[in-house]
């Protein structure tokens, strides 16, 4: 690392305290008294809130205190001598505790000498190791002290102190309630000895309690509240300045009144007004008092408002800053892009720049870019000379001359162009795949384009999602992005030990349709599909020669696979037969790839999908690495959707056609269920139902009914799926795992089934019945939310209502769940953020503490593991055996 020659200092610690009046005066460069900003000529008034000695914000004017111009003058504090002390509103809670915990006469803590000594010692001990606990402990001590009604030291009787938010205190004396004036409060706080404060966990050195009652008010420097000059030449003061003017005006009047000996009533009025102004200068959203307003009626934005909330200093300006070299727009899909690419609109590419050094080798190219300038697309926006001077090409009249003047060593800030590395991000950035590096592809129109396969890691869809793009500016940053963050490097996720990028929806359907047994392709189609896969060799031997050359879909996949690739596994369409015939599977549900040939089995979710471990895709990635894996995803996967296009895959109502015989059977089934439930209810009424252990009779009945109903739904589903073969599009999608499942199809063609609220049958609503359509006390299936209809035929009104109830619950649940789990995740991520796996495989914190001696105790990288296991012994044995065998 570089070592500065200048003296370096290290921050050893930081201590927060309360400014004492002496310190405020010492920090101040001048007293501020006059409640006016500028005189008639527009010169700041000396002794006013815009006093020149408080620093300068106008360019070209030297600061009267430090002699610097705007850029170097840090600003200087002034002060106001308050005519009467006022409570600091943000400390009123602390004042309240102190007033109650200490004696109103002698100022001692309301505990015995021994207790005080004890508490003091413990607080001091706590400070050494758990400094934050000290304050909690102090609170406990104060709580104990409050209970004493007589002072153990001077025996004085203590009265109850009442606190009225935000800054008024009353004492409930025997004679009645009396308001405590800030002067009185300050006197009491002054009497508390340092020794007793330590027992309360306070540090009298940095925070004497009487400093919580202000006698002197610091005036923030002008640089904190700069004047804004509008285009019209009108000057507009900062809200804090406005507040200061008000405050000074009241302070002046109060001072005069006191000096003139005005009646107490008048003084008190002005006093409370001063208190209000001071309070609102700190925080204009204090509960219980009206916010101070601008002339226009807009509440003033004072100090607390600047810091607080989403747009405040912390969340808005420090934790979340706007950055240069970035762009944001809507995303849309482009299946023809590589997964490593991102489509960038020309308009964006013209604004975002990459600094490129001029060398003897690229000087002509750079000259051309400069000549083209900022508005013609592949051009340049700026030139940086070796001396650091910048030339803005927008304002250069003769770009040719500038281009000729280029010499090696200059830096050209050229437009973004194809192949540049950029970072692409979608919020919320919950895992590392939320920010990945892409190669730029400059495209027309106004959206960012991305390959559909990267939707999973970003969790993006195209219903209006926007994404951010950042352009790394240094060679190091670009190299790092390319080697560590490129999409292909993120395919294998540490989360599943499986690829996070892989086929989904149409890709899965397409893969199945292409590779199932009866797919035959003529020469034209086969060539087209192989072209999409970026295959450049010759066509393989056709599988069928008569009546003409035809290729199978499996053959096409085989052409793309490597010659030494082997894989075996069950497909998603597997019927889960009792004895698996493996490669002899009559349903083509067992995938075998031998020596790069897809011999049997149709590809579906269990072969190519993302987030599923041990698939064909996963094995391919592990075997050949991500570089080839990315090509596999770009090429073969494209053929899947292109084939789907050729096939013309579409789902219509005919997909849900069920023969009338089946419908009759379903009706029989539901009738039977109704009877069964009726019998159950009858039995329960007569007492013939044996309660299940640990349940009441009602519970038992409810459970038995649920059993009957769910059995009915399942049966109906079976019936429906018996008539729903692979000829139907909906079934293809469900069985291959592309989208939906058989249950959804059942709901469409047979019965919707039980609707539930909080896991129970719907039972809330009117007294004794859910809806007025039912008889009182009816607990039959229909009255409690069992829907006999299916989506295809349509729901009855009551059924529809039940369905809406359950649907609404689902909606609310998702909303609540995402909010809760989001916050939970945030806390976890914040707690773990400075842990890292060190080079020796141990997990350490940024401060060097050891957390785990070996990551996960076995040191296995889950992304490189086999679904969490370091090695898959079975697979290795199989591979070795296969090698030996042939």
């Amino acid at each position: 690392m570089f070592q500065s020659i200048e003296e370096t200092k290290t921050v050893g610690g930081i201590r927060f305290g309360i400014l004492s009046p002496d310190l405020i005066r010492a920090l101040s460069v001048t007293q501020i008294v006059i409640p006016e900003t500028y005189d008639e000529e527009g010169i700041p008034i000396r002794g006013g809130p815009m006093d020149r000695r408080l620093g300068t914000v106008e360019p070209g004017v030297r600061c009267e205190t430090c002699g610097n111009f705007v850029t170097l003058c840090p600003g200087h504090f002034g002060h106001v001598e308050l005519a009467r002390p006022v409570i600091h509103p943000l400390f009123s809670k602390n004042i309240y505790t102190l007033l109650r915990a200490t004696c109103r006469v002698c100022g001692r803590l309301l505990l015995s000498e021994d207790d005080i000594e004890n508490a003091r010692r413990r607080a001091k001990n706590l400070e050494k190791r758990w400094p934050l606990l000290k304050y909690k402990y102090g609170e406990a001590v104060a709580k104990k002290a409050v209970k004493n009604t007589t002072c153990p030291h001077c025996q004085a009787q203590q009265y109850k102190v009442r606190f009225e938010k935000p800054y008024t205190f009353y004492e409930e004396r025997d004679s009645g309630s009396v308001q405590l004036r800030p002067t009185e409060i300050r006197d009491r706080l002054e009497r508390i000895p340092n020794h007793d404060l330590e027992a309360l966990g306070l540090d009298p050195e940095s925070a004497r309690p009487e400093w919580m009652v202000l006698t002197v008010l610091p005036v923030p420097p002008i640089s904190v509240r700069p004047t804004i000059t509008l285009e019209t030449g009108m000057r507009s003061e900062d809200d804090v300045t406005h507040k200061l003017v008000d405050l000074l005006r009241v302070n002046q009047r109060l001072k005069e009144s006191v000096e003139e000996g005005a009646p107490q009533l008048v003084v008190d009025d002005l006093w409370s007004l001063l208190q209000y102004h001071v309070a609102t200068m700190f925080d204009n959203e204090l509960p219980g008092i009206p916010p101070a307003r601008h002339r226009s009626g807009r509440p003033l934005r004072t100090i607390a408002q600047r810091l607080k909330g989403k747009e405040g200093r912390f969340r808005g300006s420090l934790a979340g800053k706007r950055v240069d070299f970035s762009a944001r727009t809507v995303v849309s899909p482009d299946p023809k892009l590589s997964i490593n690419e991102v489509g960038v609109p020309i308009e964006v590419a013209r604004v975002l720049v990459v600094p490129e050094k001029v060398t003897v080798w690229n000087i002509e190219e750079m000259r051309e870019l400069v000549r083209r300038g900022p508005s013609e697309y592949p051009g340049a926006n700026y030139i940086v000379r070796p001396d650091g001077g910048r030339i803005d090409l927008r304002f250069v009249k003769d770009r040719n001359a500038v281009a000729e003047a280029l010499k090696p060593g200059y830096i050209i800030e050229r437009h973004l162009r194809d192949g540049d590395i950029v970072l692409f991000n979608r919020q919320p950035s919950l895992h590392r795949m939320s920010i990945m590096a892409h190669r730029v592809k400059v495209l027309p129109y106004k959206t960012f384009r991305l390959n559909l396969l990267v939707c999973t890691p970003y969790n993006a869809d195209f219903d209006g999602d926007e994404m951010n793009l950042h352009v790394p500016q240094s060679e190091e940053a670009r190299a790092e992005a390319r080697t560590l963050m490129l999409v292909q490097e993120q395919i294998l996720s540490p989360r599943y030990g499986a690829p996070i990028i892989g086929g989904l929806h149409d890709y899965v359907t397409g893969a199945y349709l292409l590779t199932r047994k009866d797919t035959l392709l003529d020469k034209k189609r086969a060539s087209l599909l192989l072209f999409e896969a970026e295959y450049e060799g010759s066509l393989p031997q056709p599988a069928i020669l008569k009546p003409g050359p035809y290729w199978t879909g499996k053959q096409l996949v085989s052409t793309v696979l490597n010659g030494d690739f082997n894989y075996e596994g069950k497909a998603s369409i597997c019927r889960k037969c009792e004895a698996c015939l493996k490669e002899l599977c009559p349903y083509d549900a067992y995938v075998v790839v031998r020596d790069g040939s897809l011999l049997v089995g149709a590809l579906d979710k269990n072969s190519i999908a993302s987030q599923v471990p041990r698939t064909l895709l996963h094995e391919y990635l592990r075997r050949y690495g991500v570089e080839k894996g990315a090509k596999f995803l770009d090429g073969l996967f494209k053929t899947f959707i292109v084939y789907l296009d050729i096939y013309g895959f579409t789902m219509g109502l005919d997909s849900l056609e069920v023969p009338t015989t089946a419908l009759q059977e379903i009706e029989k089934l539901t009738n039977k269920a109704e009877d069964e439930v009726e019998q159950l209810v009858e039995r329960a009424k007569k007492g013939g139902l044996e309660p299940l252990p640990g349940r009441t009779l009602e519970d038992t009945l409810e459970q038995r009914i649920l059993e009957v109903l769910s059995r009915t739904r399942d049966r109906a589903g079976e019936l429906a799926s018996r008539f729903a073969g692979m000829g139907r599009e909906a079934v293809i999608m469900a069985r291959t795992g592309a989208r939906a499942n058989m249950l959804n199809i059942t709901q469409m063609v047979a019965v919707l089934g039980q609707q539930s609220l909080r896991g129970e049958r719907i039972k809330r609503g009117f007294a004794g019945r859910v809806l007025p359509h039912f008889k009182w006390g009816d607990i039959g299936p229909r009255a409690r939310g069992f829907v006999y209809s299916c989506f295809k035929r349509g729901l009855r009104p009551t059924e529809f209502f039940f369905h809406a109830m359950a649907g609404r619950e689902g909606l609310v649940d998702t909303a609540v769940r995402t909010a809760q789990s989001g916050y939970m995740y945030r806390r976890l991520a914040n707690a773990l953020q400075d842990f890292f796996v060190a080079y020796d495989g141990s997990v350490r914190t940024s401060e060097g503490f050891l957390v785990q001696f070996r990551y996960g105790e076995d040191g296995v990288d889950p992304a490189k593991s086999d679904h969490g296991e370091p090695v898959n012994v079975e697979k290795i044995i199989r591979e070795v055996m296969a090698e030996k065998g042939g």
């Binding site: 020796d840 141990s842 401060e847 060097g848 503490f849 050891l850 957390v851 785990q852 001696f853 070996r854 996960g856 105790e857 076995d858 040191g859 296995v860």
Partner: protein, 81 residues
């Protein structure tokens, strides 16, 4: 209840704890490149530490079963308490 002393170190749910000698702990710290305080801590009043007779400043080696690694070794620095 009975008054018989049970040696908790022999209980099957208590992983194996071994008190390291000074040289061994120095060697360990050297290998990990950390100071003693940067190891995870164990209180001297912890039943296992008491059973071993460990004093503040000692280092205890813990060998325990791990679902991922079979056997995993960890170390604890004994602190006052």
């Amino acid at each position: 209840m009975g008054t018989r002393k049970i040696n908790i170190l022999e209980h099957e749910l208590v992983p194996q704890h071994i008190l390291l000698s000074e040289e061994e702990s120095v060697k360990l710290l050297k290998r990990m490149g950390v100071s003693k305080r940067q190891l995870p801590w164990i209180l001297a009043s912890d039943p296992v530490a008491k059973a071993l007779g460990a004093k503040p400043g000692d280092v205890i080696m813990v060998v325990r079963k791990s679902p991922t690694a079979g056997l995993a070794v960890a170390y604890r620095y004994v602190v006052r308490g």
